[in-house]
């Protein structure tokens, strides 16, 4: 059991190592001739106007918020699904209730037009 995760650990190290080694290799091989024009921000060839990190529209985050709710639910679905065959009919009833509440939440968000772009 533990060795399984040891493998994942070793694998992660290898996975980190490969791009780093690659970048080091590229660092050795590639030319380095920076200049201010080259290093300026790309914006279609003209100087950027105003700040990039402006106060940004909240719409994107609304989806993130709904996501959090549903992702927590997804985390419940997996153990439930694995154990489902060992559980009785109440597991089904329970999940029906659970999903109903979620669907209720989704419908609420839908009604409130949180799912539409403004």
């Amino acid at each position: 059991m533990l060795s399984q995760y040891a493998f994942i650990g070793v694998f992660a190290i290898v996975a980190f190592a490969l791009p780093i080694i690659g970048l080091l290799m590229a660092w050795l091989l590639r030319p380095k001739k920076p200049n201010p024009a080259k290093n300026s921000t790309y914006e279609c060839g003209v100087e950027t106007i105003g700040d990039t990190w402006v106060q940004f529209k909240a719409q994107y985050y609304l989806y993130a918020l709904i996501f959090v709710v549903f992702d927590v639910e997804a985390a419940f679905v997996f153990p439930w699904a694995v154990a489902y065959n060992k559980l009785g009919v109440y597991a089904l009833v329970e999940m029906v209730l659970f999903v109903a509440i979620l669907l209720g939440g989704l419908l609420y968000a839908w009604r409130k037009q949180a799912l539409d772009w403004h």
Binding site: I13, A15, A26, Y42, V77, F78, A81, L115
Partner: protein
């Protein structure tokens, strides 16, 4: 002959026996882990080399062109030439970028793409590590991509990249739900999250039993890999390249590799979850055929994704998110409940599967009808019904 029939496993055994002659037990494990890790970590790179060539050829043919045909026979070394170019290309870091984050993002995105391969079964017992939470692991590792992409977009201090990054937040997160739910359905039917077990229990491919889950997964997977028609995060005609517009050289290369690695990985996962993985005629008798079947199925899935890419215009962000939340999520939830109910029926498994299929087809029918109606309404609202 027996050795050939299960060549890869037998070869691995011989290898382990050979090195354990001169090494202590723990060192054998470490060496094997490192080797296994190295092979799997190379998968995204191999996938990129193979798939860029394939994609160019496929898209080329779709577009009535030849595709690459200069570097090597049929242009097969084109991808290698590109790799060399990326390696020796100057790396430009914008002055206004957030350097540490900017540099970390390509590494992290590659890690996300590579780690997926740990749980993909290429054949019977040919799997990096058959984790007991395999399916959940896939979902969890998949989320690393989101973080890496957001890092890249934010750190570039570029407006196009930032818009791309924000789109990533909305898009990848939204499509993760239907993806997770459709994986959940498979887990529910199998009763295990082990990828190996999921393949073993598919005496009939799940795409024939759970078409809704299959279609939902494929759509979500296209969105998660950011491919057309869901390629909003890097929409070239709108936000140029989105989150990696400021990257060049090998740093761009890692994004590129991660993209194709992810494409291969989601296709492999689709194969595993819905197309019976390495199963196929005579695979039981000759397990060496398993990886072959697996690769054929995976490439078929990839081909379909490329075909879609050559055919469909891109969605708009609002349409795309609405599609996830208003179509895929409800359909996946209803599907989950239906499958759960079907599993509680006191009948043989085959009948249960039939019940699931009927329910799935019904959900599919209802969803498509509703979509068609809403499209008609949309057209009507704009007075184009008869145009």
């Amino acid at each position: 002959m027996d050795y050939i029939r299960d060549f890869f496993i037998n070869f691995a055994h011989s290898w382990t026996t050979w090195i354990s002659g001169g090494l202590p037990g723990w060192a054998v494990t470490v060496v094997n882990f490192l080797l296994g890790g190295l092979i799997l970590v190379m998968m995204p790179v191999i996938a990129t080399l193979a798939l860029t060539w394939m994609e160019r050829k496929v898209i080329g043919r779709i577009q009535n062109r030849l595709g690459p045909n200069r570097v090597g026979p049929w242009g097969i070394f084109q991808a290698i030439a590109d790799a060399v170019k990326m390696l020796i290309k100057e790396d430009i870091i914008p002055d206004r970028a957030d350097r540490p984050v900017f540099n970390l993002a390509p590494i992290l995105i590659f890690v996300g793409a590579a780690m997926l391969w740990a749980v993909i079964p290429f054949g019977r017992r040919m799997i990096g590590q058959d984790l007991n939470i395999g399916a959940l692991y896939v979902v969890a590792i998949g989320s690393i991509t989101t973080v890496a992409v957001l890092m890249a977009g934010w750190a570039s201090n570029n407006k196009f990249a930032l818009i791309g990054a924000f789109r990533v937040v909305a898009q990848l997160l939204s499509y993760e739900i239907p993806m997770v739910l459709s994986i959940g359905v498979v887990v529910l039917v199998v009763g295990s999250m082990r990828m190996g077990t999921i393949v073993e229990s598919q005496w009939v491919p799940f795409c024939l039993v759970l078409p809704v889950a299959f279609i939902t997964y494929v759509l979500a997977a296209i969105a998660e890999t950011g491919r057309a028609p869901f390629d909003l995060l890097e929409a070239d005609s709108e936000i140029v390249a989105g989150y990696f517009v400021e990257y060049s050289g090998l740093k761009f290369g890692w994004f590129y590799i991660a993209e194709y690695g992810n494409l291969m990985a989601v296709s492999a996962i689709t194969t595993t979850l819905f197309l019976g993985g390495w199963r196929g005629p005579f695979a039981g008798a000759a397990p060496v055929l398993g990886p072959l079947y697996f690769i054929i199925k995976t490439v078929l899935v990839i081909f379909v994704l490329m075909w879609i890419r050559g055919t469909l215009p891109r969605f708009r962000i609002d349409q795309m998110l609405a599609f996830a939340w208003k179509v895929l999520v409800p359909a996946a939830l209803v599907n989950l409940l239906w499958v759960a109910a079907a599993l509680k029926l006191p009948v043989p498994q085959a009948v249960q599967y039939a019940v699931m299929l009927v329910g799935n087809l019904a959900i599919l029918g209802v969803t498509l009808t509703l979509l068609g109606q809403s499209a008609k309404q949309h057209a009507k609202r704009h007075g184009l019904a008869g145009a």
